[in-house]
């Protein structure tokens, strides 16, 4: 039995970056990401990690500096939240288009306005299609393990893409959890030094980020898209290898109590812990519900999700973002599209919860279950909104 230690998840995330032996860190502090980058700054200043810590003046510069460092062949780390992620939005596409395996811990926070420092998924959902591999974490252990795995996934020659590791602001970043931190020796055995395909070096000059004429742009983007779609196989391999080495096995799509239930919740991130609690409570009342937890969001794990949905009748898609004028929230739209393409007839409901740090309690999920169970015969078509915002005062 290995030792688990009570530690703040943010501090554990920075230790994971250290264990991955990152060589360049460029970050700008923003709540609720602050503890990650503060602690990394300390680690570097104390000489515990041989890395360059670039104090940049904005997130735009943070991601730009990460791209430059990655181009020079360095293993690179950054972290941000909310407005910071939006400020670097333009460079997110450059990191993925130039195929830099940067790893970023995104500590999910609501976007202004109104100004909020609290958690939801509006930041990552606005950046979900930037060509990054996107992972979500349910607890602190997953954060540590995902950061270490992210380098192995992104740096694989078959992938070469940046990876975003999402953890919920405050409800995950600022809590103290029992976490097993692997030893440096184990991580070194699992994660070899980054061996870049191309680097900026005077001995072999190359051009990176050149202009793509109309004759080439489509082919260039097609190549990039193929890379992210094919990355899923490598992601699964890395998760398997991690499991064998460290004893904690992960999958792109994980399930909880789905064998017995034809009702499933689908959610992202730390909200899934409360859903599991609700499922356990429902069980004591003789009601069966399951959870489909998407750890991998990009590339979208269609096959794995389809397998998990086989035989299910009712699906409650839980999201922490407003659709912004869309028909539904992003994950719901994607699952509906997948179900339609596969001719599945699912009763799907879309619930928006936990915006801007509002508490999401297990009782909320019991309520969702009971609402959807009651709607067995009387499905009413909603005219204005195809989703329900939980706990909105009306």
């Amino acid at each position: 039995m290995k030792t688990r230690k009570g530690i703040e998840v943010s501090i554990a995330a920075s230790i994971a970056a250290k264990l991955a032996r990152v060589e360049v860190i460029a970050a700008y502090p923003i709540t609720p990401q602050t503890h990650i980058v503060e602690h990394l700054a300390e680690i570097v200043a104390e000489g515990e990690l041989d890395a360059i810590y670039i104090n940049v003046e904005s997130e735009y510069s943070a991601m730009s500096a990460c791209c430059g460092a990655a181009a020079a062949g360095a293993r690179t780390f950054t972290s941000t939240s909310a407005q910071g992620l939006e400020l670097m939005h333009e460079i997110l596409f450059i990191a993925s288009g130039m195929r830099f395996p940067i790893v970023m811990a995104t500590v999910n926070r609501a976007l202004s306005s109104p100004l909020s420092i609290w958690g939801d998924h509006s930041d990552v959902m606005a950046a979900r299609d930037t060509g990054w591999i996107v992972l979500f974490c349910e607890n602190g252990q997953e954060v540590v393990d995902s950061i270490i795995m992210a380098y192995k996934m992104g740096e694989d020659r078959r992938v070469l893409l940046p990876v975003m590791v999402n953890l919920d602001g405050f409800s995950l970043s600022h809590v103290i959890e029992p976490i097993e931190l692997p030893s440096q020796k184990e991580v070194d055995e699992f994660l070899p030094p980054y061996n870049p395909l191309y680097t900026l070096h005077p001995d072999k000059p190359v051009t990176m980020g050149a202009y793509g004429m109309p004759e080439l742009y489509t082919e260039a983007k097609y190549a990039q898209e193929t890379a992210i779609i094919n990355s899923k196989k490598v992601i699964i391999d890395v998760m398997d290898e991690f499991g064998k080495k460290f004893g904690r096995y992960y999958k792109p799509v994980e399930t909880y109590n789905t064998d017995k239930a034809d009702f499933v919740f689908i959610g992202l991130g730390s909200v899934n812990e409360n859903i599991k609690t609700a499922i356990d409570d429902l069980k004591t009342q003789g009601k069966e519900a399951g959870l489909i937890n998407l750890r991998l969001f990009r590339p979208f794990p269609s096959d794995e999700l389809m397998s998990a949905l086989q035989g299910k009748k009712k699906v409650a898609v839980i999201e922490r973002v407003m659709p912004g004028g869309a028909k539904n929230s992003p994950l719901y739209n994607e699952i509906a599209s997948l179900a339609f393409a596969n001719r599945m007839t699912l009763k799907m409901e879309n619930y928006i919860v936990g915006l801007g740090g509002r508490d999401v309690l297990p009782e909320d999920f019991q309520q969702i279950y009971n609402e959807m169970a009651a709607k067995e015969k009387a499905e009413k078509v909603k005219k204005d909104k195809n989703y329900t915002v939980m706990r909105v005062r009306a």
Binding site: G97, M98, R99, F100, L160, L197, Y198, K204, P205, V206, T207, M208, G209, A210, G212, M213, E215, L216, T218, E219, A220, Y222, A223, T226, A227
Partner: protein
């Protein structure tokens, strides 16, 4: 590049579109969006080479007898040469195509 740009298939491109060949930008004639072109009045030209020096695209070259001309494959018609020319020997005229 080993072949014309419009013949590359997606899987033939380098990862991240990295270009390993040095200076291959000269293969691409980027002058085709020009709306103005520079013309030289050699009678006014002092052969100082300021146009050659200031051209941001290295599109100006020296001809025999020390006068200058623009390579229209690369000249974008920006007019910097005409602005910098002290004796006023360069005149920008509308491109006829």
């Amino acid at each position: 590049m080993a072949k014309p740009m419009d013949q590359y298939k997606w899987h033939e491109l380098n990862v991240g579109c990295v270009i390993e060949e040095i200076g291959n930008s000269k293969e691409y004639n980027t002058g085709d969006w020009r709306s103005m072109r520079p013309t030289w009045d050699d009678a006014k030209c002092k052969k100082c080479g300021l146009c050659w020096l200031y051209c941001p695209d290295n599109a100006i070259y020296e001809i025999e007898a020390g006068f200058y001309r623009a390579n229209l494959g690369y000249c974008k018609g920006c007019g910097i040469c005409a602005t910098e020319c002290k004796p006023g020997a360069i005149n920008m005229v509308e491109e006829q195509r």
